[in-house]
Amino acid sequence: MPPPGHAVKRGALRRNLTGHAFFFPFLVVFVIGVAAPLAYAFRLSLYEDRMIGGTVFVGFDNYSKALSDQLFSAGLVRVALFFAIQVPLMLTLSLLAALAIDSGRLRGAGLFRVGIFVPYAVPGVVAALMWGYMYGKRFGLSAELSDLLGTELPDLLGPDWMLASIGNVVTWSYVGYNMMILYAALRAIPEELYEAAEMDGAGAFRTAWSIKLPALKPALLLATTFSVIGSFQLFNEPSILSALAPASVPTNYTPNLYAYNLAFNGRQFNYSAAIAVVLGVVTVFVAYLVQLATARRERMQ
């Protein structure tokens, strides 16, 4: 860039000021709502508050404790497993739904779209409660199905099935949301590409494979990133279902639940803050890995 003249500089300054004025409200909200709590949580995590002995500065002790805490790592492994299985399943369903609507061959596409999206409008807590009652092995839907089929269905709220049951609630809630992200991306594909494909004699499936899917990559990446966050921060569903099946959801079931229980049952706010910070870092790291993997694959192509 050439060195700017005096006048240009002043103009730039004014432009900058205007820019800053527009930016300021966001900055205030960001600092109060995001930066300050994060900084505060970090500060909290450097102390230890004991019932006997009061508050003392302990440096990174809480972090070294967190890293060797098997209860914490068990929760992390559980949500990682959840992410590895539930997210691909959910995104595949979302993708199929989006492609179906976009194909234009669906009758009542509007209704279909709304129908799949509606669960997203149901608050997560309500969804978990609703499903929880359906899972009930004595009076719920699962019980009635058992009676109807004359066999004993597995206990969906038992320890073996709990993660799958939670996965089902989350999938039910978010398929529609992810479908909308993907569908919006599909609508953004220029018409010319379809025309060109048609000229080349591509059928519907070939079009979907060679045009739609590649065009969906950024949207899929976005949806996956959201899902990383959603999986690692899993809280509502296990928390609600634990009331119906306490033994199936131990206090360290997910890292967030663990942090919550440490803080509110154990009053270990400081250690809980350290857990929260570590969890945040892990989430960012996994989200970054997802992006990196996608970027690398693109470069290879």
Binding site: I52, L244, P246, A247, T251, R267
Partner: protein, 461 residues
């Protein structure tokens, strides 16, 4: 969770807990910002203001008292108080039941402001607030003279580390509720010993494998604690202000508890199920469980949730190992005055009146449905002989009063019982199943509680 806490909670707004959890985390984090090491100065102030003679006249002066309680209908008793002492205004606030209240109370007390003057605190949670010096020692206000007014099982529970930190409000001496119709059909009589309970279980199982003699809740530490207590256990010991011991592994009472329930779980004559939810009430109504071992607060809850059960249920003393009377407390709570109370004398006077004045005590029993902690009612022939329409032709209060007298002495809760109870489902709750290793889980539970105690700075013996 403590059984008593379940009552008010599950009738009320238990579900909102998790919804507001995230918000509360944030709010709490901020309110903690104000916390520092200023709790010391509060202690000193509290000590100096203490004056027994101030209490007597405190209610004739204008005063405002904030009272946190989640007990349904307690406003009726509070109204009687305001009628009697028109100069004192009581602001009754329900900030959530049991654990929800404690979380908020803890935060406000730590933050240095925002706590109520007077608060409802269950016995099991009282040591936690007492040890951390967040409550007024009522002995400084002459509360020791109240001793004879209360059942000893109640009084001993408000005595923590040499002080008196609450006025007993209600108790839950355990009794056995049983389905008359179910037992009659099997030609069985109410069991008096644990061996007879196991026997009854086998009979029930033989008649219909879908039914059980009773249930164990893998999420209810209060139930297990009371049953261990009832077998003579003393697994939690507190000495002084900073020293505690957890002896679940070697406690004879806990061992008896494991030996009683393990075989019944193995036989599938006892079901492991969460309680107090819709399914459970339906099962209770359907006669799926022949027995319900619960505190004397149960009739009030049954009338509300199982109105059709009137006449089906009856009350008998708790089964024991040898058939001799023996009981334990299951739930129950006290009313405490916090260190932040602005008018401590009036607050103490209110807490005392609410739980010991004859008029108030009757109202707590008949308007609110609490089972009394006071001798005034427990020893009253009219109270003991009263007919409860739900249990026609029986004198349930007589049984409860008898059980109250048979509560095994010297039980203590830990100063961090709330946490200990919260990890119950991680340990004991995991082995509430056929073939589950109860003694092993007692060790695991003990280890985790002990670790926590050490982390909190206690000397764990």
């Amino acid at each position: 969770m403590n059984a008593k806490s379940s009552i008010a909670g599950r009738l009320g707004s238990r579900r909102s807990t998790s919804m507001t959890a995230a918000v509360t985390v944030a709010a709490l984090a901020l309110s903690l910002a104000a916390c520092g090491s200023d709790s010391k100065s509060d202690d000193d102030k509290g000590g100096k203001q203490a004056d027994p003679s101030a209490v007597a006249g405190a209610l004739d002066q204008p005063a405002e008292i904030t009272f946190w309680s989640w007990v349904p209908n307690i406003d009726r008793t509070v109204a009687l108080f305001e009628k009697k002492y028109p100069k004192v205004h009581v602001k009754l606030v329900n900030v959530g039941q049991s654990k929800d209240e404690y979380t908020k109370l803890q935060a406000a007390l730590k933050a240095g402001s925002g706590a109520p003057d007077v608060a409802q605190i269950e016995y099991y949670a009282l040591p936690q607030f007492a040890i951390t010096k967040q409550l007024v020692n009522l002995a400084d206000f002459g509360a020791a003279s109240l001793r004879d007014k209360f059942a000893s099982s109640a009084w001993s529970q408000v005595n923590v580390a040499g002080g008196i930190y609450g006025v007993p409000q209600d108790t839950g001496p355990m009794a056995m509720f049983y389905r008359k119709d179910v037992l009659d059909k099997l030609g069985a009589t109410p069991p008096k010993t644990w061996a007879e309970v196991a026997e009854l279980g086998k009979k029930i199982k033989a008649a219909d494998p879908a039914n059980f003699v009773t249930y164990l809740d893998p999420g209810d530490a209060g139930q297990a604690n009371s049953l261990i207590w009832q077998q003579g256990g003393k697994p939690y010991q507190v000495s002084g202000e900073s020293s505690a011991a957890v002896k679940l592994k070697d406690d004879p009472g806990a061992a008896k508890w494991a030996a009683t329930w393990g075989p019944m779980l193995a036989d599938k004559t006892v079901e492991s199920t969460p309680s107090w939810n819709e399914e459970w009430w339906k099962s209770m109504g359907a006669g799926k469980y022949a027995l319900w071992l619960a505190g004397a607060w149960a009739p009030a809850v049954m009338q509300k949730n199982l109105p059709q059960g009137a006449g089906q249920w009856a009350v008998a003393p708790m089964p024991t190992g040898d058939g001799a009377p023996g009981s334990a407390e299951n739930g129950g709570s006290s009313v405490a005055v916090t260190k932040q109370a602005k008018n401590k004398a009036a607050s103490v006077a209110f807490a005392t009146w609410l739980n010991s004045d004859p008029e108030a005590v009757k109202s707590l029993n008949s308007d609110v449905g609490l089972f009394p902690a006071t001798r005034l009612l427990l020893d009253d022939p009219t109270f003991r002989g009263a007919d409860l329409p739900y249990f026609p032709g029986t004198k349930p209060n007589e049984v409860f009063a008898q059980m109250s007298g048979a509560v095994r002495p010297e039980w203590q809760y830990l100063p961090f019982q709330v946490y200990a109870n919260s990890i119950f489902k991680d340990t004991i709750g995991q082995v509430y199943k056929p073939g589950g290793d109860l003694p092993g889980a007692l060790s695991t539970w003990q280890e985790r509680i002990t670790t926590f105690g050490k982390e909190q700075g206690f000397t764990m013996k």
